[in-house]
């Protein structure tokens, strides 16, 4: 057994907080074995799968006409993609989306319903992922929501998460320093990691530790236990104005004005809010932060075990651009490592659910489909903002793929194709077919429509035989049977391994 140094182990497996990786193997085996090796997706398909929640048919046609670079640039500039119709509808249906912390708290009290804002934000998140043309932007909102993970469940976080989400959305394609500064002042985070009760007479380390470990430097980013303690003291007094507007406030009375040391730098005695700000400024431009953010982005978009060549390159972009998200994304998607990463990422539950419905170009009528999506994501354990720890949902297949997860995914695929998912979401099977009506034709049309790539020859043959149902392969299938066949094959394709890679 080869001996590996501790540093190498970290480099290979543990950089960043998301520790699950594929069991045992240093190479992910994602292609089906041996003679059945599947040709990878073409570059545009790879890009659109990775940078979206699954494109709808018309969206994919637009992507084909724009080409790889054109579609990437369009998605990197979401402000040029009009979502005003969606946003005004959401704000009309879900009035809490635009409310301040004070309004949210007051309304929750007045209506004795503290869950309204939680449900509205969660449903709006589903609907944005499902309907928005700014797909990469929504992917990045999910990424940063997860990076600055707040469990959307207890106490006033049910209210505070709504403005917290707005702050993430405002900066999701912007600069890391802006995300970090907004988050350090977000009542949701101040409450979740207890900094609102971090006081000079009894400092507490919860936020300080996770700020260093999860938000910026990473667990091996070069800080010590003493750094954690002094950062906790630096953030004493960073709290929530509980008697006023429920916004961030610096309470000088609770602040520790003694000098502190952080990463070898002195936070001089007598500083107030400047202490925490100095820490944030150091962190926002620190090479370890660049490394952590680059690792997580590359893991998100390229591979569970991020190739260090690309991580280093993206970290350099971080340092050179002041943590500019667009620049880092551009570097990732145009890299050789990305181009060679086909079939190396498995869809997480939310990506599977959304992409199944989006690929079929389905619409929601009423609330029932949203409730059903909620139910499946609860079963599959990936509701928005509901990971129970501050490190966010894992981003590797070893965590998400197991027997029980497959059963839930298959049941979703079957229910969707068989129109038993929920009232208000309806698949009209014949719209998928064009004029195809022979077994081989319908298999080819459906696999192209749903997977956008060819099946393995052996699988294709099995599906054709199944579609023929014992009749001669060349015979025309009547319209009624055709409906049944489309449902069966749609269920099969969505449930098969093909559809679960992105």
């Amino acid at each position: 057994m080869a001996t590996v140094t501790r540093r190498e182990l970290f480099d290979r497996w543990f950089k960043g907080p998301q520790l699950y990786s594929l069991n045992g193997s240093s190479e992910r085996v994602v292609k089906r074995a041996g003679e059945k090796a599947l040709e990878g997706p073409d570059p545009l398909l790879l890009l659109t799968n990775r940078a979206s929640f699954g494109l709808r048919s018309p969206e994919f046609q637009v992507a084909q006409s724009l080409g790889f670079d054109g579609w990437l640039e369009a998605q990197l500039n979401p402000e040029n993609i009009d979502v005003s119709g969606l946003e005004s509808a959401l704000n009309r249906i879900f009035p809490t989306l635009a409310q301040t912390n004070a309004q949210l708290i007051a309304d929750a009290r007045a209506n004795q319903n503290s869950f309204r804002s939680l449900a509205e934000l969660r449903y709006a998140t589903f609907l944005r992922q499902f309907y928005s043309g700014q797909q990469l932007y929504e992917v990045m909102v999910e990424f940063w929501s997860n990076h600055f993970s707040v469990e959307h469940v207890s106490g006033p976080i049910r209210q505070f998460k709504t403005p917290d989400d707005r702050a993430i959305r405002a900066n999701a394609m912007g600069r890391f320093a802006d995300l970090l500064n907004a988050n350090a002042r977000s009542p949701a985070m101040l409450y979740y990691l207890d900094n609102y009760v971090n006081i000079a007479t009894g400092p507490q380390e919860n936020y300080a530790r996770e700020l260093l470990e999860l938000h910026t430097l990473g667990v091996n980013g070069g800080y010590t236990e003493d750094d954690v303690k002094d950062v906790a003291r630096a953030f004493t007094g960073w709290t929530i104005n509980g008697r006023g507007d429920y916004e961030f406030i610096f309470n000088g009375l609770a602040h520790d004005y003694n000098a502190k040391q952080f990463l070898g730098q002195t936070l001089p005695a007598g500083q107030g809010i400047e202490d925490g700000q100095q820490v944030l400024d150091i962190l926002a431009t620190h090479p370890s932060t660049a490394q952590l953010i680059a690792t997580k982005l590359v893991r998100r978009f390229v591979a569970d075990n991020p190739p260090s060549s690309l991580v280093d390159a993206v970290a350099q972009v971080f340092l050179a651009t002041g943590g500019d998200v667009r620049s880092m994304l551009r570097a990732i998607f145009t890299s050789a490592e990305f181009a060679g990463s086909g079939d190396q990422k498995v869809k997480r539950p939310a990506e599977f659910i959304m992409s199944a419905m989006r690929t079929l170009d389905l619409q929601f009528q009423g609330e029932a489909p949203i409730r059903r999506v909620n139910q499946y994501l609860e079963q599959l354990n990936q509701l928005p903002f509901m990971w129970p720890a501050p490190n966010g949902y894992p981003d590797v297949q070893g965590y998400w793929i197991n027997t029980t997860a497959w059963l839930s995914r298959w049941n979703f695929a079957f229910a969707l194709a068989e129109n038993t998912l929920a009232p208000g979401i309806y698949l009209n099977p014949l719209t998928l077919l064009g004029g195809a009506n022979k077994a081989a034709e319908i298999v080819d049309v459906l696999s192209q429509r749903l997977l956008r790539r060819p099946l393995l020859a052996e699988d294709r043959q099995l599906l054709i035989e199944f579609a023929a149902g014992g009749a001669p392969l060349e015979s025309r299938i009547d319209a009624r049977t055709l409906q049944v066949r489309v449902r069966e094959l749609t269920a099969l394709l969505l449930a098969s391994p093909y559809f679960h890679f992105r």
Binding site: T3, T5, R6, L9, F14, P17, L19, Y20, S21, L22, N23, G24, S25, R28, V29, V30, R32, A33, D194, N198, I199, T201, G202, Q204, E205, N206, E213, L214, V219, E225, V346, Q379, N381, P388, A389, N391, Q397, W400, I401, N402, T403, T404, W406, L407, W410, F414, A415, D459, L462, L463, E465, F466, G469, G470, V484, E488, L492, A495, S496, P497
Partner: protein
């Protein structure tokens, strides 16, 4: 497995319209199954978030315990309504753990105190990962210790030999040896309204006919559904009047007990319970969790009845919490914590501890020190219950001995 229908054969049958159970499990393994059904079972409960061992199992004779925790300390036994429950001259149970007391008195429950990782880490995520992989500084060990234990056992055809209860499989059980993940028995099936659903499922199984992790887990899902359907009657109804607490932890223990009581051949299982990161207003958070833990394990024991003799439960948590309370009636990340060990082969009714004390000089950077390597407890468990004598692959680099005395 040569005595099974190949998936290809199965597919042909299914397409021809024959109605047969999925993947042909009807072909004989019942004898093996009966054998497997009598094997010992190891259940590992992971308390994610770091349980405050000092407020769970209280060193009530130490003044420093009370001086360091002026607002959250649990009172000594027999000092009033919220007093702790005495175990011996040194330790007492948090009253929220009251369901453990009869098990302790009956000699079925042991406690190991000041236990934990010998490698200091106060990061939840690092410490959990170190612990679950039993990873040391040198060595290329990536999978979980329980998975390596499964891999070391004699070959078995029992799909349910290793079960991770929950929506995801715990890291300790993840690895190359096959594992079933199960959220609940109730949801463990494939539902299709299609008239040709058998053929459809058979064909779907065929598409998982590769060698990747995706393929192997998908294939195992079909086998597990099939095996569950053909096993001896499984009932989620607990036996012996056992009442599990509400919530996922109780439900998963209940379903695990049902699997163990059937003939599925469970030998290893994991169950998680989260929420132990009590930085703020600790008592209100910790006590309900302690009760859920104790009620859950107590119900599990009652439910299993005499079968508990072959089932051993051990709890783990990534670290304990600081000896001092913080300024918000909570505790920050610490070092040593407590493990609960219950069931078959346990020499219970004792608190095992090389107690370091809470004196200034004895603290590890302000925390209860770790004086018992958690691997010593697990190694003895595997030695006495699993017949393992060589720990070099399961706990690489572990040089302690496996004679903690907790197990016979």
């Amino acid at each position: 497995m040569s005595n099974r229908l190949s998936r290809r054969d199965f597919h042909r049958l299914a397409c021809a319209g024959a109605s047969i159970p999925l993947l042909g499990s009807q072909i004989g393994w019942s004898a093996e199954r009966k054998d497997a059904a009598n094997r010992d079972v190891i259940v590992v409960v992971f308390q994610r978030g770091a349980m405050d061992g000092l407020n769970a199992v209280i060193p009530y004779t130490e003044n420093q315990y009370y001086s360091r925790r002026p607002t959250i300390a649990v009172a000594a036994p027999e000092t009033g309504a919220e007093a702790s429950i005495g175990l011996n001259e040194q330790f007492a149970l948090n009253p929220a753990l009251a369901p453990f007391k009869p098990l302790y008195d009956a000699g079925e429950l042991a406690i190991v105190h000041a236990a934990g990782l010998t490698t200091p880490s106060r990061s939840h995520f690092d410490a959990q990962d170190f612990m679950e992989r039993a990873w040391l500084e040198q060595g290329s060990v990536f999978d979980g210790w329980l998975n390596r234990y499964v891999a070391s056992l004699e070959a078995s055809t029992a799909t349910f030999r290793a079960v991770g209860m929950g929506t995801a499989v715990s890291r300790s059980l993840s690895g190359p040896a096959p594992v079933v993940g199960m959220s609940s028995i109730e949801d463990f099936g494939i539902v299709s309204a299609s008239q040709r659903s058998d053929g459809l499922k058979g064909l779907l199984a065929q598409t998982f006919d590769g060698e990747s992790f995706v393929d192997s887990t998908g294939t195992r899902a079909f086998a597990a559904v099939d095996e569950l359907a053909t096993s001896a009657a499984i009932t989620a109804e607990p036996a012996n009047g056992a009442v599990y607490p509400d919530g996922a932890f109780g439900q998963r223990l209940r379903d695990l007990a049902a699997l163990i009581k059937s003939d599925l051949g469970v030998e290893v299982a994991t169950v998680d319970i989260g929420g132990w990161d009590t930085h703020n207003n600790q008592t209100a958070e910790l006590n309900p969790l302690l009760t859920e833990l104790a009620e859950g394990l107590s119900a599990f024991r009652t439910d299993l009845g005499p079968s508990m003799a072959r089932v051993t439960v051990v709890t783990m948590t990534e670290f304990g919490r600081r000896a001092y309370e913080n300024g918000s009636q909570g505790t920050d990340h610490g070092r040593g914590s407590a493990m609960f060990v219950l069931g078959g082969g346990v020499v219970g009714g004792q608190v095992y501890a090389d107690w370091p004390t809470l004196a200034d000089a004895a603290l590890d950077n302000g925390d209860l020190a770790v004086t018992t390597d958690y691997r010593a407890v697990l190694a003895e468990l595997l030695s006495k219950r699993g017949g393992i004598s060589d720990f070099s692959s399961i706990f690489p680099g572990f040089e302690g001995n496996a004679t903690s005395g907790v197990f016979v």
